[in-house]
Symmetry: C3
Subunit: 343 residues, 3 copies
């Protein structure tokens, strides 16, 4: 429970047509909000609901504030203002410091006095867990792994040996950080020999790592995720990859070994990046595309194909197989026409 005044202060918004003392008890979408609730407008298609919303105030842009029929909190960046306001309504996780009696902590691990280690956790020898860290239930922290201040492992997270997480890193359930890279040598008999994976993983400050995402340790040097990177669920990061600061990767992205992704990049869902290439800063790749060679210029890149009715698609893909033939037939025609034209 808070007031519009407090919300405005936290979210750096300006009150328009509403009272700072109004009490707010929750948040709801525009068309469902009731009096006493906060709402927001971040997509223009919901603008129609401004006239009918019951919300006590709506966070919106200076543009949308013009002639706005609803009480408003006007923001330069409504997304950011909303994020800040919504944080007031998050249930506060109780994180009493201590170690749950069912956790197993190696006597050779170092745990900050105010950290929390939850039920059924395993913390191995040499691990270092810094101040304010929260380790949720059933997590594993391997030998000599380090968790920086205020880092949070939600539940069922595996941090392998020697992996280092920075401060305020948030790791969702099922994520695995520091598994062996897929390093193999082929012997003369066609059998695979494992190449030891001697590097580790270094995760910068303020990184978020989604559920069931996997990040492999480097073969010799470290796999590096720079500060502020946001990784959605079920992402696979292979060994020796480096992801530049403040890049965001959507679900199911796969990055092959030794690829380097720039800073402030955005990769859509299901994108694949081949190994040993570089992507410049500020590159965006749309969903289900394949980056097969380096990208040197910022911009938006794509190779995903959208669905058509199956019958049409079957025709298209049959034709596609004959595309080379078609080009040759076109060239033949062009020659004939030119000759005819010249006669």
């Amino acid at each position: 429970m808070t007031t519009l005044g407090e919300i405005a202060a936290v979210s750096s918004t300006r009150l328009q047509g509403c009272d700072a003392a109004t009490v707010v008890t929750g948040i709801a979408p525009l068309n469902r909000a009731e009096p006493g609730q906060l709402s927001f407008l971040t997509h223009s298609r919901y603008r129609q609901f401004l006239a009918v919303t019951q919300a006590s105030a709506v966070i919106l842009s200076t543009g949308d504030a013009v002639d706005c029929p609803a009480p408003a909190l006007v923001a330069d960046n409504p997304q950011v203002a909303y994020a800040r306001a919504a944080a007031l309504f998050e249930p506060v996780a109780e994180t009493k410091p201590g170690i749950h009696p069912t956790a197993w902590i190696s006597p050779a691990a170092q745990i900050a006095a105010d950290a929390w280690i939850g039920p059924h956790c395993t913390v191995e020898a040499g691990a270092v867990i810094e101040a304010g860290v929260f380790v949720g239930p059933n997590c594993v922290v391997g030998e000599q792994a380090e968790l920086g201040e205020n880092t949070r492992l939600v539940a069922h997270v595996t941090i392998c040996h020697r992996v280092r997480l920075g401060r305020r890193v948030l790791v969702h359930p099922g994520a695995v950080i520091g598994s062996d890279g897929f390093g193999l040598a082929l012997d003369h008999g066609g059998r695979w020999l494992k190449i030891p994976q001697l590097g580790s993983v270094l995760i910068g400050d303020d990184v978020e790592i989604g559920a069931n995402t996997t990040i492999d340790r480097g073969a010799l040097e470290d796999t590096v995720i720079e500060e502020g990177v946001k990784l959605d669920n079920q992402i696979q990061i292979a060994h020796n990859v480096r992801i530049g600061a403040h890049s965001a990767l959507a679900g199911c992205v796969g990055i092959a070994g030794s690829a380097r992704i720039g800073r402030h990049c955005m990769l859509g869902g299901g994108v694949g990046v081949a190994g040993h290439l570089e992507i410049a800063d500020r590159v965006q790749v749309t969903g289900m595309s394949l980056v097969a060679k380096s990208i040197t210029e910022p911009g938006v890149y794509s190779s995903g194909l959208a669905v058509e009715p199956n019958r049409l698609w079957n025709k298209i893909s049959a034709r596609l197989r004959r595309l080379d033939e078609m080009f040759r037939r076109l060239a033949v025609l062009e020659k004939k026409i030119d000759k005819d034209g010249s006669t």
Copy 2:
């Protein structure tokens, strides 16, 4: 161990050329079945084996029963009949009620007297576990999460806080339900600010959720999986998605935020669905296709391309890059010909 008569009763099949009293001890494929075993014919290409099978009876369709040389259990829907018959041969999981001594249960959780909580489970405060629920080893049930009657978590499942599962839900190992959605606001400095994920996940009755599948909680309202939905392994469901009743999604599907999938849909393996769109009821999408805009009509949709020999594919994809040029060259030719024709 059962008899053909019992099997016929359970599977609603009719005996043809066999004796209800015949004892059956197991199930095997047509070409491997021995006397005393049940078999089935659900694909016509295995029809050849009817003449030679040693099975004591074969579940098959009324069509295949005509002139069938083998003893048969004749079904309207052999797949369904087989599913019912096979259930007789499942090893019965012993689910003695109780709480394993190594489980940790918050004193503020409610556990039905006949539920089972396995080794190394964590059940947090306010969780409600209803009658007949089975929670396998090393599962985590978060604060105020609810598991409906006879729901079953196989092992290593994470149910996050406030998530609600209906009755007879089956969740396979490594699945994560209720992780934070990937909600981010970009500030003026190009840094990502987390948008609190205040919604939850609602799973209907009779839903099955595959191994390592992830379902994110809603940003404000709930992510909803309606009754009877079947999700294969390694599926990613983003925040605020709704999946209509009785839809089935194959492995590695990814659904982006706020997408709405209809009822009785079928998505093939590796399909991607973009965010904020709607798919009508009874839509089928074939494997590795991308749904990039709404689909309003039932039917089959595709955009997956099948492999060719690499050398040919390289030619095709090089030509593809010049497809726009080709259309323009074709149009030029057409003009010339028309002009020539008109002269």
Copy 3:
């Protein structure tokens, strides 16, 4: 700490321009190695660094050894030699035999005297854990599952009931082996009925299974991964699949039910394989391709499309939708020209 002589012996390499007694304390890339460190040259693009490297010796091929300015360990197969040499520098995992006091072992399980069962593990009734097995923290080994000699589960691994792993199998965190296959029968009301999954999974010797990879049990017979197969992270293997010996699958591959992959195959990252088909031995499929029908000949196959600038790609994909029309227009032109030519 070892010597060049020992490394040469282990890696079957020949010393050139260096002394067998030289002490080596670690490994580093060519351009970063310091005296006392070993390095290697496996990609020609790093050849330039041979002139400046400080490494005490460089593992390289007989070809690269000619006129090599750096001290060298000359190998027939530098990748294999490197793999063997690097193994000398792996931290030795201490695997004292025993059962961690927090593990829960069914009295009806059989554990070899020299096996190790880590903290918070669950080992169910009838499980058999053979000599030298290492079960890391928070793993689950189901009823009657069997782990062959010297097999290693790193952490958080789920081995379901009756699954059998061979010898020296290495399973990374979060992997799930033996979850139910996605077997469903559609009843007349459009509801899905579960088909019991009565088979199991059989994993051969020397298989490696990546983090969060899932392998489903067979519907009736077993899913089989033959000896020496290497599976990267986040791979999905459906029920009844068979993968031939010594095949390697990169991250995020998905194999649908009953597909059979040959021996010595290599599938790139994100490849999808449809169900009920066969891939011959020694087939390679490049990243993000879809195998939709059987492949009978060895060779390299592809269907992945690489990114273009988004604006160009939008044009291409719009044209692609009209590809059938284009072929027809081309054929019309050809007819006209032929007629004109014949006049």
